[in-house]
């Protein structure tokens, strides 16, 4: 019972264990220096791989590749460079998340309307309380808290009432996640996990009315949220694997 086989150890590093299993591994690691060193070696290798390949996400996509994805009847006014959109979260700037309006084709707009309708129904059914106040601090509650606990930006659900943006570990050690509440009134914010729950240092209106782009809303990066992230961010934004591992670890 007190040993960890190799498969389990690897699964722990890769964030594949549930919370109970992960806790068991951690209890053994605390007592077993050799195992703990192997975990550190695996984590170091993973970090080395990410350091080598994640910068690709921030490179401009070559125009000849972007051009392959242009609509056949694209308007002549559309410069190919507008497709150099950085995705994947890490190191992304809000401006580079701005999507050409053309992405919202009629079908997508219809789908988005259906999603909004579904989200609206959910809102109506669940009540509107997403925030509780404790002293002068705001905390997520209800569906917002559940979304922050469970949702992964790497596995986005277009129907979900809350869209998760970036996840990262703040300079004070807490894990923070940016999010957008898709249901009206659309709001964007930043939540940081504390012992008292998901505290909300920032929560405000999301999309400037003149753009009305759902995609921009999904990034959750309003200037206020971006400023709050900039003030807290130390190191990198989590990638999909780190995000999943953080969920397994209970966002601690």
């Amino acid at each position: 019972m007190n040993t960890i086989d190799d498969d389990t150890l690897q699964a722990y590093v890769d964030g594949e264990l549930d919370a109970a299993e992960a806790a068991r591994v951690e209890a053994v690691l605390a007592q077993d220096d050799a195992l703990a060193r192997r975990v550190r070696q695996m984590c170091a290798l993973d970090a080395q791989l990410r350091a080598a390949f994640d910068p690709v996400l921030d490179e401009a996509v070559p125009a000849h590749l972007s051009a392959l994805l242009q609509a056949p009847a694209a308007p002549a006014t559309k410069p190919a460079a507008r497709f150099s959109v950085v995705a994947g979260g890490r190191g992304a700037h809000p401006a580079s998340h701005r999507a050409p309006r053309r992405w919202l084709m009629p079908g997508a707009a219809l789908a988005a309307s259906v999603a909004l309708l579904a989200a609206g129904l959910w809102w109506w059914q669940s009540g509107s309380s997403l925030v509780r106040t404790q002293g002068d601090r705001q905390f997520a509650t209800g569906t917002l808290a559940r979304a922050l606990d469970r949702e992964l930006a790497s596995e986005p659900d277009a129907q979900a009432p809350v869209a998760i943006g970036l996840t990262f570990r703040a300079a004070d050690g807490h894990i923070c996640r940016s999010f957008t509440v898709r249901t009206p009134p659309v709001r964007a914010g930043l939540a940081c996990h504390t012992t008292a729950g998901w505290e909300l240092p920032v929560l405000g209106p999301s999309v400037p009315a003149e753009t009305g782009e759902l995609r921009q809303a999904a990034s959750g990066l309003t200037p206020a949220v971006q400023a709050a992230i900039d003030a807290r961010l130390r190191g990198n934004v989590f990638d999909a694997q780190q995000e999943r591992a953080a969920r397994v670890a209970g966002w601690r």
Binding site: L45, Q48, A87, G107
Partner: protein, 163 residues
């Protein structure tokens, strides 16, 4: 909306991740972007096969992995795809100076057999879960984990991290 439009539009935000995966598989920047071009052409040609309830990223990653395997076969395994002298170009291609450690990493990755390299690319670089990688590669989860463990062992030994 026609499925080809959905695929075409859905691929645009996936391009950076697709390029990262291609870089992890193919190594060199030029080879990787050639691979991405093949993948995009195949994805658009086969867009009718994509089902909207399937994740587009996994679907196109599977196309990328298969296109990479096709490319390996076309060149012949014995050929120099990742020969040491080309590793130097990999680094030069990137434009910026890189630490020696990353040169070593590229060389170490180049020694991995394709079976191992692709699980490293999908799970460790791209961050897929074991289940997702197993589904994409159409192998049992146990095969993914055993290949991953052996690939890690090889890389750690080559990089001198196992001391």
């Amino acid at each position: 909306m026609h499925s080809s439009d959905a695929v075409r539009e859905g691929l645009i935000p996936l391009l950076p991740r697709l390029r990262r995966l291609a870089r992890a598989l193919a190594g060199q920047v030029a080879d990787a972007d050639d691979l991405v071009q093949v993948v995009l052409e195949r994805a658009l040609a086969r867009s009718a096969q994509w089902r909207p309830d399937a994740a587009l990223d996994k679907w196109v990653f599977a196309i990328a992995r298969n296109a990479w395997r096709d490319e390996l076969r076309a060149r012949g395994r014995a050929q120099h795809l990742f020969a040491p002298e080309e590793v130097g170009e990999t680094v030069a291609d990137a434009g910026a100076a890189r630490p020696a450690q990353q040169l070593e990493l590229a060389q170490a990755l180049a020694t991995l057999p394709p079976d191992h390299r692709e699980v490293v690319a999908l799970v460790l670089v791209e961050g897929l879960s074991y289940d997702e990688a197993a589904a994409l590669l159409e192998v049992p989860v146990g095969t993914v984990t055993s290949r991953l463990a052996r690939a890690r062992g090889t890389l750690q030994a080559l990089l001198g991290n196992d001391a």
